[in-house]
Symmetry: C2
Subunit: 356 residues, 2 copies
């Protein structure tokens, strides 16, 4: 009897909670409709999350980042404004970030333990759920372009290593020597980490040197990504990275993993992630944000916040950008900063770097 | 005023629906508790889905499959019965399937277009959400063992290609020459497909030869996998494959993709998939089944059926095995058959191959 009563009581309590949630949701839905009226397309980019704090950036370098982020977001936005496809906008924006030495992707990629460059990227089309991904390629100037070719000109989703490079050559896209990717900054970052590793090895019995918390090492990782909604209601997402400084053993992070670092589904949202890739894979970040929107009715911002909290609970640091089917943009991160930009309702680029 | 009233009315209606759903869910939970009393641990395996029909199997070959599936499920079950961990049960069962020439994993792996062997595998621990995956390795006798070492002895989740092999050697696990993987059956399958490709190339303008529907080609793919719940309430899942006969360009399917071919989460279920990997990646099969259980309250069978239906709608064929936190097993597939086995309530192995 008591048990019966408790159950009934708890059901009523649950019902009240459900009522409250659904009431909140209902108001949220109204807000969405208004947002859809304001803007029928949209775009956001990120240039990596990490220990990005004001004292680590000179005003000159900060300006360089702001200029390049503005250039990239504007290029993507122009595609959309001129009735282009979200996939084209995503690729246009990411190519600019890949060609810049500022970001850990393409030209500015970080070095592996062996002093080589190994690039990962992926792209997903929210209309068809088609996707393309490449991992561990060493000579492709624009990995995002190769990922798109995998999606559009192969029956596959993911190609890795030498095989992916053979496909790149067959498709005739630009291949470069490893020297193309050399930047003094990244080389120094590798040397610093190798030095720290050596010290750690000498001074302690620390088992897992690669597991040094990312907070200890600035510039250890980073990624670029873009999400877009075009005027035809189609979402797309893309991500590109050099991975983690000092990575070994053909390590692949979340960037080329569909459902983790990249996801797009016209029914929910498009998303691109950046951060400690291992945690983002384990948390299936991209698909989880989508599932919370689809199955729980969360807003894109609430879903992104919830999943970044899960990543944090696992011990991971980083962030995501996402855009939903009504063009609402979410940016969520638990790191000190994230290079990011979007275009506001007035068509103006808004660039942010630090926590605000 | 009317608007206000409508809003209030619809909220009350939603609340009643929510109450009904939650009440139903509560009843479902009771059913689950009973199931948990019946069996506090469980295990299931698969040996691949595809065009597996009676007329393609001689009685002798069918018996060979049944014997090996029984051996594998029994080995995993023994681990659980003797208070072992679900991860150990998963690895034990998969090693037996990998060592058999019958299945497309380890010893029985299919050939790539170039006549080489490239193996993928992954494993996930539902308690910690830790995971390990390897792709495109050519000399590792038991890829599932390497995936587990990536999870337990590296800070990474995924290693690919030569790097993964270097890690394997560093860890001292068994490496073999490519000759170890040679089987007459797989070699003939490759030659048949190459011949069909040649004919198709000669006789038609078919653009995408690799996109031949899998129904046209028996033995084109296949995978082995295992899911288990141990007496401590911990779920684990693992998957291992040789990929697709005639695969090119370092193609990687869903087997090593956490959230697609493999997923485990103590809060929901453990899952292993087999089939047209590209579709399983795009549908984020593993995480979607988990999300439908967690966010929508579906049973593991209903969630598996729903996601296999989505894969089918995209054009993909294959199946999944899954086990939930109360030990309930689901097997769902849209192909003509799937090699599969589980242990029933009486501790007896149940092996199935064809549609029933």
């Amino acid at each position: 009897m008591t048990n019966q009563f408790l159950k009934k009581g708890s059901l009523i309590a649950i019902s009240i909670i459900a009522f409250a949630i659904l009431a909140g949701h209902s108001v949220g839905s109204q807000g969405r409709e208004k947002a859809a009226e304001r803007s029928n397309f949209g775009i956001a980019i990120h240039g990596g999350a990490g220990v990005i704090v004001r004292q680590n950036l000179t005003p000159e370098l900060e300006q360089e980042y702001r200029t390049k982020l503005t250039e990239a977001i504007s290029a993507g936005y122009d595609v959309l404004r001129n009735n282009g496809k979200s996939l084209d906008a995503v690729e246009a924006a990411i190519r600019i970030l890949e060609d810049s030495p500022l970001f850990n992707a393409g030209k500015g990629a970080v070095f592996t333990h062996e002093g080589t460059i190994e690039l990962d990227a992926s792209v997903m089309d929210g209309q068809t759920l088609k996707a393309g991904a490449i991992a561990s390629v060493k000579h492709v100037k624009n990995p995002i372009g190769l990922a798109r070719l995998v999606m559009e000109r192969s029956p596959h989703v993911m190609l890795v290593g030498d095989g992916a490079e053979a496909f790149a050559k067959e498709q005739g896209i630009t291949v470069v020597s490893q020297e193309y990717f050399f930047t003094e900054k990244r080389w120094k970052q590798l040397q610093e980490i190798l030095e720290k590793e050596k010290k750690a090895r000498d001074s302690s019995d620390r088992k897992n040197l690669n597991a040094l918390p990312s907070e200890e090492i600035d510039g250890r990782h980073g990624t670029v990504g873009c999400v877009a909604l075009d005027k035809f209601g189609n979402l797309a997402a893309g991500t590109s990275t050099g991975g983690m400084t000092n990575k070994r053993f053909g390590r692949v992070g979340d960037s080329p993993i569909i459902g983790a670092g990249t996801y797009a589904n016209n029914a929910t949202c498009a998303l691109s992630a950046t951060g400690d890739g291992e945690y983002f894979i384990r948390a299936a970040v991209g698909h989880d944000v989508s599932a919370l929107i689809e199955y729980r009715g969360l807003s894109v911002q609430a879903a992104a916040d919830a999943v970044i909290a899960k990543v944090g609970a696992l011990g991971g640091s980083g962030g995501v950008i996402a855009i939903d089917k009504e063009g609402r943009i979410a940016m969520s991160y638990n790191s000190p900063g994230m290079y990011r930009a979007y275009i506001d309702g007035a068509g103006k680029a808004v660039v942010k770097i630090f926590k605000e």
